[in-house]
């Protein structure tokens, strides 16, 4: 919607300007070069940071992944080819961590998408102050990001302090460890944590997409006799489809970076959970428990490849960045 369309206006005018300058043709080549030098000068700090925080570490991770890890018997590192990738992929935890992520995503992603789209549509159908207040309220938990959200969840999950203590005791759960460990609750708990922390921001985003819908379109639908449900389902939803796709893919990619929640839940549950629940945790363990940096680098590169694939889908297929990429 607006982001892409305003970008579209921008590049259209840029093209016009490029065409509208034949009288300066003699110096065009030099002025182009001057412009390019200026542009790269302005981009220089950003490009340096891109190299330091993006390109160089990726290259260095590749180089590291191709080494052999030092061992007490052989402290020197050598060339190991793809050995470290083999170490990672054949590790008994490797597939399990992706299975865990899948079990969280299966619950979280549908709930998240229904929550985002449903609440954004409800907010959009509520004009005036009520809608604005609700949007702000839904955004609030999103402000409690990261560790803060986690501590809040410890408060909710711990029967000793929880406002839903009655619920936990009805289930026969008396301490935090039993809540976190019982059955397959972990996927549900993680899904709930991610939902609570993430849904508000996305409501604001999708609501932004809804606000970009032309009034005339909605009025026409109303004149045709469509009720609020039909307008939402047949008019609004198709128009904001790029935003929904964007949200789904961004959240999917986010799932693969899960680290903080399972790591700290394990800590508060007296290490009763798997130490390496998510792929990021496994990578972390390779680096900081086994000191096998080649394997840690290989694990990062595998995750990088997955999220890069999702990222490419977002950039090319979501339809939100089409002007920038074509």
């Amino acid at each position: 919607m607006s982001v892409a369309s305003s970008a579209r206006t921008g590049s259209a005018t840029a093209a016009d300007t490029a065409v509208a300058g034949p009288e300066r043709r003699p110096s065009r080549r030099t002025s182009r070069r001057v412009e390019a030098v200026g542009a790269w000068t302005l981009c220089a700090p950003y490009v340096v940071l891109l190299l330091i925080a993006g390109v160089v570490p990726i290259g260095y991770a590749f180089a590291t992944a191709l080494q052999t890890p030092p061992t007490p018997l052989n402290p020197a590192v050598g060339f190991g080819g793809l050995k470290s990738f083999e170490t990672v992929v054949t590790d008994f935890r490797f597939l399990r961590t992706f299975g865990n992520i899948a079990s969280v995503l299966v619950i979280w992603l549908p709930v998240m998408m229904i929550g985002i789209v449903g609440l954004a549509l409800l907010v959009h159908a509520s004009p005036g102050r009520f809608g604005n207040v609700m949007r702000f309220v839904y955004y609030l938990p999103g402000a409690l990001a990261g560790v803060a959200n986690f501590v809040l969840w410890v408060y909710l999950l711990n029967p000793g302090s929880s406002p839903i203590r009655a619920f936990w005791s009805a289930l026969g759960l008396t301490d935090l460890k039993s809540v976190v460990v019982s059955g397959h609750d972990l996927s549900f708990i993680l899904a709930a944590m991610l939902f609570f922390q993430g849904v508000g921001t996305w409501i604001v985003i999708v609501n932004g997409g809804l606000n970009g819908i032309d009034d005339a379109v909605l009025e026409a639908a109303q004149i045709d006799g469509a009720g609020p449900w039909r307008v939402a389902w047949n008019v609004k939803l198709p128009i904001i489809r790029p935003w929904i796709g964007y949200a789904a893919l961004m959240n999917l990619a986010y799932g693969f970076q899960l680290f903080l929640e399972p790591q700290l839940l394990d800590q508060v549950a007296s290490n009763a959970l798997p130490d390496q629940y998510s792929p990021s945790q496994l990578g972390y363990a390779f680096a900081f428990s086994n000191y096998n940096f080649p394997a840690a680098a290989a694990m990062s590169l595998i995750l990088l490849a997955i999220t890069l694939g999702i990222g490419l889908l977002i950039v090319f297929k979501s339809g939100l960045f089409s002007e920038e990429t074509h």
């Binding site: 412009e35 200026g38 302005l42 570490p57 402000a143 410890v154 970009g212 990619a253």
Partner: protein, 316 residues
Amino acid sequence: MAVATATPDATVRIPAGRRPVSLNRLARIVTMLLVAAAFVFPIIGFVAMSFRNADEVAAGQGGFLGLGGVSWDNVRFSWSQVNGFGPGSGGLFVRWMTNSLIVSVGGALIAVVAAIPAGYAMARLRFRGRRILLFVTLLAMVMPNTVLVIPLFLEVAAVGAVGELWPVVVIMGFFPFGCYLAYIHFMTTMPPELVEAARIDGLNEISIFTKVAIPISKQAVALVAFFSFVANWTNFFLPLALLSSNQNNNTVSIGLQQLIGASPLFNPTVAAGLNVKLYMPQLALATFISMLPLLIVFLGAQRFLMRGQTVGAVKG
């Protein structure tokens, strides 16, 4: 920002009072209020927790959401415990907050200084490599930033700077979303004719940026600074990998993890050896204090956020 201007309400023409109270409308309002309650009550209860006392929490007293058990004395006691954490007379928490401020503000400053000119150049100048740079920026922006933490750790370890704050500041300074925000800002607020006119007036490319673009970039600067500060403040994995080896250089996000690990609720053996006792009220207070800078920044940036809502919302 032009992006957010075309947002009048479709239904605003019908005065609210005259609308029939339909079942639909009632269902919508009730659903929204129920969801709102589910979102707000835990937060209220959690904030109230930082004003309560551990014995009453354990005994289940305090009434609805514990609001009956709040007092300043409790806060004062809890603070003495939180602030007492650390070797000797404690004081680690304040240190962590200071470190978080250093890396978050430093990272945000670098992000602004790098992203504004780059966003301008990508939006308004023609040069070879522009498209690739924009594409890489988009890609880096939509990828989760934790993916690169271990490669970054290897890089920082190679220069022997693990445990120091400055590499974290530099890495946080790379903020592709900020660059994209600046790009959209100049695309929408600065017509290309303005650049052409400035060229005809004899300004060189850098002067056009400093004399024409910068004066109209307040909105973009505010947004980049805000989003970058928030991202830096809440970042957990990067400081964990780069800073946890040096307890004095921890940020508050990993500090909170240490406080949790030192709580008798979750780790009685560690807690038994400490002078301070960190139960739920103390943990909630520490978390609450750690959120205050975010709250202040949010209030400060609010008018910019509302104006550029849609653009800002592309990534939260």
